[in-house]
């Protein structure tokens, strides 16, 4: 009876109530139009450009179908070396971030008092608001020959790693760390304390409890965090420019080909490499439910 009165007063709402498809269509049309028209169309156009070529005289993109760019990227020793280096850096950065994030996230979620928990979340979030560029530049100054790192370790006979791949790994791991801590912390919050107590009651020590109870439940959250550190590293070129010395990652190659070399088709072909890697990674990670843990 009540729905009849509402149908009389709200004919539009009643119509929507009876037509699920229409409701869904209204909800989805705006966001799908936006993402489809703006993003997917742009991405598709870029990928198609990889099969075109550049006129050597005018520097303009010419629509002439060719596999040359793809072949160059797959078989060129420079591209192979840089791809391997980039993936290596992304894996190392991700592993460092997970190793650092686990203890601090565990302390925040399971050991700290409510009050400290709130303070620590703020402390982890705050560096995110300092500009990415300033943080990368700060590491440049920390790691420089007369920077604070050299000043701290020289009395003990150490020295700064200087600018290069090591500095790039340290800086990238630093930059993405909060993005990895937060999902892992949220994941730990969802692990009920009672499970940990039960495990302790059954005779497991802390390490055994962590390995057999916490870690299996935490996998999706860890993988969700790794998506950030992995994919952000895969496309970075600015940090590498600031602290990486002369080393190059895939992002740098794409950037040079778009800018200085003015060869968009080749740049598109190179960018197919990180796109492919990330799709494989997302597909592998999806089964664990990591994507809903972002």
């Amino acid at each position: 009876m009540t729905s009849e009165t509402s149908a009389r007063t709200h004919p539009a709402s009643a119509f929507l109530h009876r037509h699920v498809r229409v409701r869904l269509g209204l909800l989805l049309s705006a966001p799908l139009l936006w993402l489809g028209l703006v993003y997917i169309a742009a991405l598709a156009a870029l990928l198609i450009t990889a099969f075109w070529t550049v006129d050597t005289f005018t520097g303009q993109v010419r629509i002439e179908w060719t596999l040359d760019n793809i072949v160059t990227v797959i078989s060129g020793s420079l591209y192979q070396a840089v791809t391997l280096r980039t993936v290596g850096v992304a894996v190392v950065v991700t592993l460092i971030d997970i190793a650092v994030a686990l203890p601090i996230a565990f302390f925040m979620a399971k050991v700290a008092s409510k009050r400290w928990q709130r303070i620590l979340v703020i402390a982890v979030l705050m560096p995110l608001w300092a500009s990415y560029l300033v943080k990368a530049y700060a590491w440049r100054s920390v790691l420089s020959q007369d920077g604070i790192f050299a000043w701290l370790v020289e009395p003990f006979g150490g020295s700064t790693p200087g600018y290069g791949l090591h500095a790039a790994v340290i800086t990238l791991a630093y930059l993405w760390l909060p993005y990895v801590i937060l999902p892992i912390y949220a994941g730990l919050e969802r692990v009920p304390d009672s499970l940990l107590e039960a495990s302790g009651d059954l005779g497991a020590n802390s390490w055994r409890t962590f390995r057999s109870v916490v870690l299996p439940l935490l996998w999706p959250a860890i993988l969700a965090g790794s998506i950030f550190s992995f994919s952000l590293t895969l496309g970075d070129y600015i940090t590498v420019n600031i602290v990486g010395g002369t080393s190059q990652l895939l992002g740098n190659l794409v950037y040079t080909n778009v800018g200085a070399a003015n060869n968009l088709p080749l740049a598109s072909a190179i960018s197919l490499v990180p796109i492919a890697i990330i799709f494989v990674y997302l597909a592998a990670v999806r089964r664990t439910g990591a994507l809903s843990n972002l």
């Binding site: 009540t2 509402s6 007063t9 539009a12 709402s13 929507l16 869904l24 909800l27 705006a30 966001p31 703006v38 993003y39 169309a41 742009a42 991405l43 156009a45 870029l46 450009t49 650092v100 203890p103 302390f107 925040m108 050991v111 709130r118 703020i122 402390a123 982890v124 705050m126 560096p127 608001w129 500009s131 990415y132 943080k135 530049y137 700060a138 590491w139 100054s141 007369d146 920077g147 604070i148 000043w151 630093y174 760390l177 940990l196 107590e197 302790g200 802390s206 998506i227 994919s231 952000l232 070129y237 600015i238 600031i242 950037y255 778009v258 598109s268 960018s271 990330i278 994507l291 972002l294």
Partner: protein, 271 residues
């Protein structure tokens, strides 16, 4: 959990060390903003307030901050609307292609910024024939900000269920009234958290911005990149960074308080 005293101490000290390393570069930036050295030598040879004075008189910096705020506000507003719509659709309905849609939302943030950047640059200039301007930056930023709103709202919707909305409809409210008086108030803090993240993401974005900004559009990150390697300007950039970090305490604090109060309320009703 009953951890041994030793493991508690180890975890606490590890946390302390990690936080110290997280704040070391920020501390260096802070000290450098007062240093007389322009090349960031450590320890600083002397202290001065010159850079602070210059930063506050720098018209370029203030203008860049304003531009960034405008872009971030517009991008956040768009992503709030689109993110809420898409999370309502994905959480409340089962349909063909649902997984594809959820992947589509994540993609702009999962793919490297440089790819998003050159793809949009190419699309704007050659396909649509649009001049790059502040609008193209907003469109680009909104695209990758949708995901932060989406994540926060869909997590909230999962927890809420639909019984209150059904009750509202049974009591005679139309779809819009139900959304306005029942759904929206329950989503408010999730929208705030997602919106704040979206704002921060847009405010700090440099790579996508480089490729989608028109010639006259200088956002704060672009201003910083332009000035980072100029000897006279690097300390001024340090000042701006210090002000930003200190300023960020306020929004984070309020977001935390709202989230905290919210968490307590929902816990109170669940038990």
């Amino acid at each position: 959990m009953r951890l041994s005293r030793l493991s508690r101490t180890v975890l606490a000290s590890l946390t302390g060390v990690i936080l110290a390393v997280m704040y070391l570069p920020l501390a260096v930036v802070f000290v450098n903003s007062f240093s007389t050295s322009q090349s960031l030598t450590w320890p600083p040879p002397g202290f001065t307030l010159e850079w602070w004075g210059r930063a506050f008189r720098s018209a370029g910096a203030l203008e860049a901050i304003l531009t960034s705020v405008q872009i971030a506000l517009a991008a956040t507003a768009i992503s709030l609307v689109l993110g809420t719509l898409i999370s309502l659709a994905l959480q409340r309905y089962r349909f063909f292609g649902r997984d594809a849609v959820s992947l589509l939302v994540i993609l702009p943030i999962a793919l490297p910024g440089i790819i998003t950047g050159i793809a949009l640059n190419n699309a704007f200039r050659t396909i649509l024939g649009v001049q790059l301007s502040i609008l193209t930056v907003i469109v680009a930023h909104a695209t990758f900000c949708i995901v932060t709103v989406f994540n926060n709202v869909i997590a909230r919707l999962r927890r809420l269920g639909t019984s209150l909305e059904e009750a509202s409809a049974d009591l005679g409210a139309g779809a819009w009234t139900t959304f306005r008086l029942v759904t929206f108030p329950q989503l408010r803090s999730a929208l705030l958290a997602g919106g704040l993240l979206a704002f921060a993401l847009s405010f700090d974005e440099i790579i996508v911005t480089t490729f989608t900004a028109g010639a006259g559009v200088t956002t704060l990150p672009i201003f910083i990149l332009n000035n980072l390697f100029r000897p006279n300007q690097a300390p001024v950039v340090s000042v701006i960074a210090v002000v930003l970090v200190l300023g960020s305490i306020i929004p984070i604090y309020f977001a935390q308080r709202i989230a905290g109060a919210d968490g307590m309320r929902s816990r109170g009703t669940e038990r």
